[in-house]
């Protein structure tokens, strides 16, 4: 995944945020204004992988984790990361 200018980047957590896990659900909040974002186990896995891998390798890594073809997980990965970025949970790190 690249920016519109084509620069490679990684996903990083925006700061400060809070994370609480309860009964298999992950709740992530941006501080001090919110919102609280609710992640099911799959979305939480996508987030964890996104924070570990270069952005353009996230879809492949998620597909490998679930033993599925990349095109089957691509939309879900994009949806989750788009929402997390919109809610200011993650940001693009170009370093």
């Amino acid at each position: 995944m690249t920016t519109p200018s084509g620069m490679p980047f990684r996903w990083a957590l925006a700061q400060p945020i809070g994370i609480v896990e309860r009964d298999g659900i992950t709740y992530v909040a941006t501080f001090p204004d919110g919102p609280i974002v609710v992640l099911d186990p799959v979305a939480a896995t996508i987030l964890a992988i996104a924070l570990d891998e270069p952005a353009d390798e996230v879809t492949g890594a998620v597909a490998a984790a679930y033993e599925k073809p990349s095109d089957e997980v691509e939309e879900a990965v994009r949806d989750v990361l788009t929402r997390l970025e919109a809610d200011r949970v993650i940001r693009r790190d170009h370093r």
């Binding site: 400060p16 945020i17 809070g18 994370i19 609480v20 309860r22 659900i25 709740y27 909040a29 501080f31 001090p32 204004d33 919110g34 919102p35 609280i36 974002v37 609710v38 992640l39 099911d40 799959v42 979305a43 996508i46 997980v73 879900a76 949806d79 989750v80 929402r83």
Partner: protein
Amino acid sequence: MKAPADAPIPQSVRVELAHAAVAVLGQRLGVDLLIVKGPGMDPLAAYSGRASSDVDVLIRPSQVGEFLDGAQGHGWFARDRFETGSPFGHSVTMFHPTWGDLDVHRRIPGIEVPAADAYDVFWATRIQSDLAGQPCPHPDPVAQAVILVLHAARSEGSRRAAMDVEHAWTNAPDEQRRAIRALVDRLDAQVAWAAATGGLDAFRHRPTYRLWLVASQGGGRLQEWRARVAAEPTWRGKAAVTLRAPLVNTDHLAMLLGRRPTRREVAHEFVDRFRRAAVEVAARARRERR
């Protein structure tokens, strides 16, 4: 593979996140605050499973205005004012659509040393408890227990308050109890402490005695106002409380109605307060004649 974006958020999760959000807000505003209750409390002070529904913070008294102004810039709005929030005038309740309710304390009722001095004591021994991955400043476990028991002193008939006293004081280890007693004395909080733990009669000579008698054992509005007047240390303070007594608490009325009251509703409530006071006086006269 969709996240449950609209799934309900359990109250315990929201409350934990809210505590961390408020701690970060304090840092962001450069205001010293201490979280005085909630899920970050030490097990020595709070019994296991003690649930919270809101956030309670004590702000350095000189920074209270700064905090209230700053919080409004982050989506919080005040539900009431210090003058109308409680008989003790110690807190303001704020609300945030994501985090819920926040009680902003400028002092702890029952502590009779100046609020700034008490804050310095709490701040000097503060600890950090981790909530939602954020370090959140709390008073130390001894101060937590004192604050919890002093709160219980004005929670007449509350089962939870009784459990707080039992856990934080009655069943506390000896070393903790000694430290608690020393802190109660240092904060000059003996009257309210006695209201919660017993022996209030020993403080009949203190100006705040009647206030704590009413707070801990109940009483009518007239008794409460007379006790508030008696507890005020200055004539100016006594006069201010007396003049405020017949006025309608429009913030409280707004909370009951779910909207700001109309002039007609305020006027009706104003008249009704005198009616209720008359009923109270008559009832007391009947009791005294028997």
